[in-house]
Symmetry: C2
Subunit: 317 residues, 2 copies
């Protein structure tokens, strides 16, 4: 969208033209090997070769100062995390990533190239090319990433399919990201292993596709923490749960594991956990960890027999 | 994305939980008749039934105070325009709309329901359902809309296909949106016909598909105005142009027609304009208007033989 009405945003003395800025950014985020049938950055829209099966789409917005502390982390971190968070939504459906588009607004003087370098890094590592984008002025640095993917053969895994008797599993120990944030606040360097877990979260794309292939009943990512997301899955499925374990990552606290969020591990419900483990093993993936069982009574939500309260961070308006 | 680091955004005394807000918004934007194979709002990602042919995707960001003056227009207008602008990018490729996702950030106290009513209105009118979204706190009201569509049989129309000798056409007279903004600033009511053209721009989806069907060589929407967008098409195609006419809308000035932008009329280059007109006629669409011819020399860019300068608004950083 163009033609501003009231450009209240101060400009630099030698402002750069939008087309020039976009060209420089395109050089950062653009792919080297674009398939012959595809057209990415540079047109009104991107064109992708036909998808196999269902089309999966999700959007995620990240705001500097809300989702990431600009004093402790860089714009590159913001960009990486924004793309990783969106890709994780594809993982949570068991989809294969096909591409993403990035919409950025930022004040004059923002290092847009640094921001886009972070996005490009995540896009390359997750094999989810940035195929288009848009730029605007604005007071906040805001990044909205939209990902599209495909489920060959169909069967995207929803939240609402958990059945009584299903086993509940997670793809890894929890709390690393939250612990990393705490350590960074305490002065740890950007290279600290847990701080890196916060700066460079890893979407579980391979695990999600493996779980879909293994016939999982329900799945979601733990972006807002087990304490909130497990309740969301239970709500959507109309069930309860009995937890026997919350796997706490090395260096994290129990609270961080339950309500920290942003680990992007997957939560899976299945009636055939041995098949799930077999498929994970076959694909060279870390074995998922059982955390409990789905029960029919939707009000029964426990850990070691005690109530497991809904908790985790939410935006407020 | 979740778990804020430093929630500097002031909260209301009785803040509403994110899940509650999302539920109320979902009731506004959600479709009544979701196809049985599809899953829209409420999961990690939306699932759409398989697309026919190429997948077309584009994202557009709109910021209140940059793209729309909040003193003269409403949040509903911002929402409508944001969706319409994104859908227009599908029109510009000749694609059929399949759905969109909306990422919103806004400060506490923003009437998110009003904003989403505007988006829902545009989504219904353009038959491009809102299938998902995300919400965050932020200082600006920012809306990033991502649309996905399909080109059955392939052949999305790019900017770069214009050939020397092609006729250049537009789908309607230009400058209405810009004239409407001027009239609103002069005190015209929100019901004024030109003001409505600014508040409720109409993406030319049917015209775009007709042009693709008629074998157009190149196409784009005039979101930034003919004075900028025609040069972009010429740059992408490595050609020049000789304009013989700029159709100025009733009530608009020549300047508004050339550099106003946001009309979302389509610019089309074709070597078979009579076939184009026939397909438009056959589909009950207003006949496109010839504005000039494509020439081989990329430095020759004229209107009535005089230089046609590149002009139009761009964001600056």
């Amino acid at each position: 969208m163009p033609a501003p009405v009231d450009p209240t945003i101060p400009h630099r003395e030698h402002p750069r033209r939008e087309d020039d800025v976009i060209e420089r950014i395109a050089a950062i985020v653009g792919q080297r090997n674009i398939p012959a049938r595809e057209r990415h950055i540079g047109d009104d829209a991107a064109v992708l070769a036909p998808f196999a099966g269902e089309v999966v789409i999700s959007t995620d917005v990240a705001v500097l100062g809300v989702h990431l502390d600009g004093d402790l982390f860089s714009l590159e971190d913001l960009g990486f995390r924004a793309v990783a968070a969106a890709v994780s939504d594809l993982a949570a459906m068991g989809a294969r990533a096909r591409g993403c588009v990035v919409a950025v607004s930022a004040p004059a003087g923002t290092d847009l190239e640094e921001l886009h370098r972070g996005m490009a890094e995540a896009a390359i590592l997750t094999n989810c090319p940035i195929v288009g984008g848009d730029l605007s002025s604005g007071r906040d640095v805001t990044v909205a990433v939209t990902v599209v993917g495909e489920c060959p053969g169909g069967g995207a895994v929803l939240r609402r399919g958990a059945m009584p008797g299903d086993e509940l599993l997670v793809t890894g120990p929890l709390g690393r990201s939250s612990a990393g944030l705490r350590r960074r606040r305490e002065g740890a360097s950007l290279d600290d292993e847990l701080v890196v877990a916060h700066r460079r979260p890893w979407p579980r794309l391979s695990e999600g596709q493996a779980a879909r292939g293994a016939g999982a009943h329900a799945m979601m990512d733990l972006s807002d923490g087990l304490g909130l997301d497990l309740h969301r899955m239970a709500d959507a499925s109309g069930v309860g749960f009995e937890l026997v374990d919350v796997p706490v990552a090395l260096g994290a606290t129990f609270d961080e594991a339950v309500s920290g969020g942003e680990d992007y591990e997957l939560l899976i419900a299945t009636n055939d956990p041995s098949r799930l483990r077999m498929v994970f093993l076959d694909r060279g993936l870390r074995s998922p960890r059982t955390i409990g069982t789905v029960v029919a009574n939707p009000t029964e939500r426990t850990l070691h027999g005690a109530a497991f309260e809904r908790r985790g961070w939410q935006h407020q308006w």
